[in-house]
Amino acid sequence: MYDVVIIGAGVSGSAVARELSRYKGRFCVLEKEEDVCCGTSKANSGIVHAGYDARPGSLMAKLNVEGNRRMEALSKELDFPFRRTGSFVVCTDEGSRQKLQELLERGQKNGVEDLQILSREEALFLEKNLADEVVAVLYAPTAGIVCPFGLTIALAENACENGVEFQFDTEVSAIKKQGEGYVIETSRGVFKTRYVVNAAGVYADIFHNMVSADKLHITPRKGEYFLLDKGAGGHVSHTIFALPGKYGKGILVTPTTHGNLLVGPTATDILEREGTNTTADGLAAIREKAGLSVKDLPLGKVITSFAGLRAHEDGHEFIIGEAADAPGFIDCAGIESPGLTSAPAIGAMVAGILKEKLNLSDNASFVAERKGILNPAKLSAEERNRLIEDNPAYGNIICRCEMISEGEIIDAVKRPLGAKSLDGVKRRTRAGMGRCQSGFCSPRTMEILHRELGIPMEELTKSGGDSRMITGGRKEAAQ
């Protein structure tokens, strides 16, 4: 019997797991995919929002601002990429200036610090590529950018090292109340637990509705993006949002923590909870709207496009807490933007609830710090040479675009909750994430996974399941 089973190893589930690991207990995370960070958490804007968007008084507003405040310290503690770059909301017509003012006031009510409205000239001083139509901007210096994979993986690794169990490829099919706890039926057996945390992203309503008569409804809201080459990464240095206006919710343009430029997302409600395909219409919409706030966007430098699904709850509010008619079932649902920003606060909140309910005592062996994968590019030439001398794999570059060495890939594979697939390696090291999109390194990375994990080449996958990379050997090789 577990004390807590968390459903979903996205950023919310991982944050809850990490905060929960501060306490003694038997905790387990169930994830239907082969790795952490495979759903909403892997395909989003990677923005740490300042907190002026959400309705004052809402849980969303509170956790956004709190998550933002916690992010920097957390990034140091868990060693993941975060930069407080600041954000702009740009206003492109005189008639909408009032809306900037409203946002500013809302932000102040939410407790966002240092918000200010800048004139076009003042804004241009900070951001030279603003569109010619921009008349004023709301500047939020506390906003930032985070690597969503880095954040989620760091939380999960740290949770794992502090004793939380992770079960992958484990899809929940039913949840039943039994005595004081719950029985969770999955594709890989039955899990009994006193408490359930429902952090299942776009599936959270399904699980909630299995135990509660007070029904939830979540709509997968698709957002499509373009990721641009690092050569375009300097086009803007802040996150540039468009003021919601006559074109609907606008497209944002932002640098990423790794120096690329990200443009998107669209917002389309869909039915399919796995509908992460990009669409011709969506991509066309980004192209059309992207230039409204930032000029001369080098869209010729797109290296990939992708789509993610936001878990949009009908009331557009985070649903966090014990379901009223299902004691022991803690929802962590409706976590859409600013969910990534809020994750550190969500984790603390849910762990706080569980500590109280379960009367948990402190985990004396809890270690708050986690070291990320060593990035040799950050070392001095001397340090780097010492590293290569100790471990020659660091001298062997596997991914030429991102200059990722074999040493880093082996680290990604060997560490707790290590990578098992090409995408797993990519999210942890960036090997394959550059401009050639793994054309060069995928055969080499496959070789390393095969060697280090003993997975037959035929069984190696891009991202688990049936995503096998090859269908077999060459004819003569088979003979």
Partner: protein, 452 residues
């Protein structure tokens, strides 16, 4: 820090030929840096034949062709470091490098652009990260394939989408079959070669779709790789959707209009497990850009003069890093010229001629997309100069004409020209001299396609 007269980046066909030719021009201090485990570059995975018809007057496979040059490099005792990734090329250097400069009597203040050394930062398992100084650098890094992401093809992102070259490596070098039911987008040469290769390995290649109304590959490859195996080529078609969340399950093609937009109602879905992409090659110039080499927006390769020298003196470029070739024979020839010119540069060092040389700018016009070289310094020009270029469309029974200062100097009838096949003109110095007033320092050579 070790110093070399010539440091060559890449031991593919371009780098190897450049090394041999620099050596044969009298240079002994040559270093080739290669990131792969063996020399030969992309030729090692091109196990089909058809290489070397021009260079060796016989038909070789890729590895055989590479081997001829590898042997020549070995015979000459040229140093080639394998498994070595070049991280950076710079004109700036650390304190150690400056002292090397001083030792060689290089006065950076006096003539920085021509005299200063280049510093190549490289890394390998055995030697760690280190720098070498170079009097000249020959860029021979080749090209890479354009990935799916750059095309904005909508759909899922499952396993089973490969660039044709990656699939070629998997099949020919690693011994694996990437898929069994295949659709190919793009009719570049590697795509065509892989259509045949996958078929020979027992895969079913259902169709090759090409966005343009003409193929991007060589005619001979269409005949030998598609027609001979009954694989249909659908011109003016593209991929409009990719199905399958984990592994590719299907690909939808649609016809495109003259503006390359998909035409609604023409969609056709092919059930398949693999999509190969052969949609263009991009010269790999990250190192060049880092060094400050000026790149052409058309070729994505360096802008070079008659000596294949970039805007950075002493830095030369050849092969696919300069512009993408169809035939390796031309790569070898071009690289030979780069090696020879690097050698001449070294021999000439310190004996620079007076400024104000006569320069001819080459202006590609109507139908001609670019030229290599893009300008000619008459004093450095050999007796003949080959100008290579590509056209932007298919032309039948047209003329390639060259005009020097508005006077026609060449007219060449071409029955067929296509973007997939590189064209060339040969200029004669003797002839140019008759049209060039020596007092006039700047001249313009227009090259264009004309119908009559």
């Amino acid at each position: 820090m070790k110093q070399y007269d010539v440091v060559i980046i890449g031991a593919g066909p371009a780098g190897l030929a450049a090394a041999v030719s620099a050596f044969d021009a009298g240079i002994r201090s040559i270093l080739i840096l290669e990131r792969d485990r063996e020399a030969g570059g992309i030729l090692n995975q091109c196990i089909h034949n058809g290489f070397g018809l021009h260079t060796f007057k016989e038909e070789l496979t890729g590895p055989e062709y590479a081997d001829r040059f590898v042997k020549q490099v070995e015979e000459r005792g040229i140093e080639c470091r394998l498994n070595t990734m070049v991280m950076d090329i710079g004109v700036e250097c650390g304190a150690e490098a400056e002292s090397v400069d001083a030792k060689h009597g290089v006065d950076a203040m006096e003539k920085p652009s021509c005299r200063s050394l280049k510093y190549v930062t490289a890394m390998s398992r055995t030697d760690g990260m280190y720098q070498v100084a170079a009097r000249t650098v020959i860029l021979a890094m080749g090209c890479r394939e354009r990935p799916r992401g750059a095309l904005n093809i909508p759909g899922y992102r499952p396993a089973g989408i490969y660039s044709a070259g990656t699939a070629q490596r998997l099949v020919n070098m690693e011994g694996y079959l990437p898929g069994k039911k295949v659709v190919i987008l793009g009719s570049g040469d590697i795509g065509l070669i892989m259509a045949r290769r996958m078929t020979l390995e027992g895969a079913k290649v259902q169709v090759v779709a090409e966005l343009m109304p003409y193929s991007g590959g060589l005619k001979r490859n269409i005949v030998q790789c598609l027609d001979d195996y009954g694989i249909p080529l659908k011109l003016s078609h593209t991929v409009v959707d990719i199905q399958g969340k984990e592994r590719v399950e299907g690909v939808t093609l649609a016809q495109v209009d003259e503006k390359r937009r998909p035409i609604a109602g023409t969609e056709e879905t092919y059930e398949c497990d693999t999509l190969l992409l052969s949609v263009g090659l991009l010269p790999e110039n990250e190192l060049s850009a880092g060094l400050g080499v000026e790149l052409s927006p058309v070729t994505s390769g360096p802008i070079v003069n008659e000596s294949l020298e970039t805007n950075i003196e002493g830095v030369f470029a050849c092969g696919n890093v300069l512009h993408v070739h169809d035939l390796v024979d031309f790569v070898s020839e071009e690289a030979g010229l780069a090696g020879k010119n690097a050698a001449a540069y070294i021999t000439r060092m310190g004996k620079e001629e007076a400024a104000g040389q006569v320069q001819i700018e080459i202006s590609p016009q109507s139908g001609v997309r670019y030229t290599v070289p893009s300008h000619i310094r008459l004093s450095q020009m050999q007796d003949t100069q080959t100008i290579r270029f590509r056209v932007g469309d298919v032309y039948k029974n047209c003329f390639i004409r060259a005009y020097l200062n508005d006077k026609q100097i060449i007219s060449k009838k071409r029955p067929v020209m296509a973007p997939g096949e590189m064209e060339q003109l040969v200029l004669k110095k003797e002839q140019l001299l008759t049209f060039v007033e020596p007092e006039e320092k700047s001249h313009c050579l227009v090259i264009r396609v004309e119908e009559k």
